[in-house]
């Protein structure tokens, strides 16, 4: 364990250092493409939220903020440990810190596992409640019930009126009128504003869960990839491959893991705390 395998830089680099800094620049370019990939979904989030702010509030109240908070703490801790692993590799002179690198990486991977387990419980709860995307949402009547309950809690509104014949007649007229003569429609429904708003909220709930599953799903895939990369780095670290002059894989794997953390830092308040 306490020995190292020295690294020979590739022939087209002057030395290890130049090779490392080139690799790191490449990694940062890749991270930029990752950020842009996620930003598409963040833009979708912004657009749908600003079109249906009431619905967004009600639907996001269906998420469990405790689970979200636990996952935030888990990811921040793992980000810290992976940063310490990089530091251990940076200061590894003759292999005396090999086991420290391995231990820190193992703990980071364990955190990633914990994150996925919490995510599993969250997803299975949402699937059970029918809080899903698109058509799946409408195929689960219990989802509508959950949203009604959410409206009740968020806006302290009585939603029993939702099942009244008056409301259903209004809904039919609303649909039949279309959106062509908007002014007429608005005057007609001025007295039933809460009904119309409630109707929209329940109808559009699937939009929130669509964005929720896409964002957390894409992030979850990144967690799995990050775990695999760190596991590979761990195996190399066990062989004593990383020391003060060569630790590029630890550093780049760490950068990837920090990005996963960065994305979650924004995802957590946006989805769980709005």
């Amino acid at each position: 364990m306490s020995t190292i395998i020295t690294h020979e830089h590739a022939h087209h680099f002057y030395d290890n250092e130049q090779q490392a800094s080139s690799a790191k620049l490449g990694m940062w370019l890749f991270l930029v493409t990752e950020v842009l990939l996620f930003s598409g979904l963040f833009v979708a989030y912004t657009v749908v939220k600003s079109l249906h702010p009431e619905m967004w509030r009600v639907a996001s109240s269906q998420l469990d903020w405790v689970m979200g908070s636990v996952n935030t703490l888990v990811l921040i801790t793992s980000s810290w440990t992976v940063a310490l692993a990089v530091r251990a590799a940076q200061t590894n002179e003759k292999g005396e810190k090999n086991s420290q690198i391995v231990g820190l990486l193992a703990f980071t991977i364990l955190c990633a596992f914990g994150f996925l387990i919490v995510k599993y419980f969250e997803y299975s709860h949402k699937i059970h409640d029918g809080l899903l995307w698109g058509k799946s949402y409408f195929n689960h009547p219990e989802a509508i019930e959950h949203l009604k309950e959410g409206i009740k809690q968020t806006f302290s509104m009585d939603v029993t009126a939702l099942s009244s014949p008056e409301f259903l007649a209004g809904l039919k007229a609303h649909t039949a009128a279309g959106t062509h003569d908007g002014q007429h429609l608005i005057h007609h429904y001025a007295s039933t504003v809460t009904y119309a708003d409630t109707l929209m909220t329940v109808e559009q709930g699937h939009l929130f869960f669509g964005v929720y599953f896409l964002l957390t799903g894409l992030h979850g895939i990144h967690v799995v990839i990050g775990m695999s990369v760190l596991a590979w780095v761990l195996v190399l670290a066990q062989k004593g491959r990383f020391y003060k002059d060569y630790y590029t894989p630890v550093e780049l794997g760490g950068l990837y893991w920090h990005l996963v953390d960065l994305i979650w830092i924004y995802l957590f308040p946006l989805l769980y705390l709005v």
């Binding site: 250092e17 800094s21 790191k24 620049l25 940062w28 370019l29 930029v32 950020v35 842009l36 930003s39 963040f42 833009v43 912004t46 657009v47 600003s50 079109l51 249906h52 702010p53 009431e54 903020w65 908070s69 935030t72 921040i76 801790t77 980000s79 810290w80 992976v82 940063a83 310490l84 530091r87 940076q90 200061t91 959106t179 908007g182 002014q183 007429h184 429609l185 608005i186 005057h187 429904y189 001025a190 504003v193 119309a196 708003d197 929209m200 559009q204 003060k244 002059d245 760490g254 950068l255 920090h258 953390d261 960065l262 830092i265 924004y266 957590f268 308040p269 946006l270 705390l273 709005v274």
Partner: protein, 174 residues
């Protein structure tokens, strides 16, 4: 490596962040997480999202500057990432301009709140009264060209667009 700071040891010119700084940043991130969860319990309206994003940006900056070493790394890495963020801002800008201005064109496109729509329609009515004649002519033209053409043709009666009284309620811009 362009880094030749005073706190350098002989580790090949790489900046090694002291351990206490890592622990401090970790503690800071934990505190900020608690703060953001705590603040979310109060209802400040739209300000909630702004506060949450502000705290998240502080957290993200701590991670990027210290854990990801952007602060002491080669400037080119920070520049690369900065340019990426610039393009993210551009990406956000155009959709936001779009959805932010839709209601001026057509209040019906705004699903946000019926009450809000009513306000906009009332504002448009006031506006329309000021420019009644022009809008009346416009709506006549609009009706003629899209709706009443078949009727007009059947009746074969010329409609003097300029003299027709504007119809109340038609003034809403479509």
């Amino acid at each position: 490596m362009s880094q030749h700071d005073t706190h350098h040891d002989d580790h090949g010119g790489h900046h090694v962040t002291p351990l206490w700084l890592y622990h401090l940043i970790f503690g800071g991130l934990l505190c900020l997480t608690v703060i953001t969860v705590w603040i979310a319990q109060f209802d400040f309206g739209p300000a909630n999202t702004v506060i949450a994003m502000f705290v998240a940006t502080i957290k993200a900056s701590l991670v990027a500057l210290f854990f990801m070493h952007l602060l002491h790394d080669e400037r080119l890495n920070a520049l690369t990432f900065g340019f990426g963020l610039l393009f993210v801002c551009l990406f956000f800008l155009f959709p936001l301009v779009d959805i932010g201005t839709r209601t001026y064109i057509d209040p019906i496109k705004d699903n946000a709140s019926i009450l809000k729509q009513e306000k906009i329609v009332k504002a448009q009515e006031v506006h329309a009264k000021k420019h009644k004649k022009a809008l009346g002519n416009l709506s006549n033209l609009y009706n003629r060209s899209f709706m009443n053409v078949a009727e007009d043709e059947a009746e074969a009666k010329p409609v003097p667009a300029a003299t027709t009284e504007p119809v109340e309620g038609d003034s809403t811009a479509k």
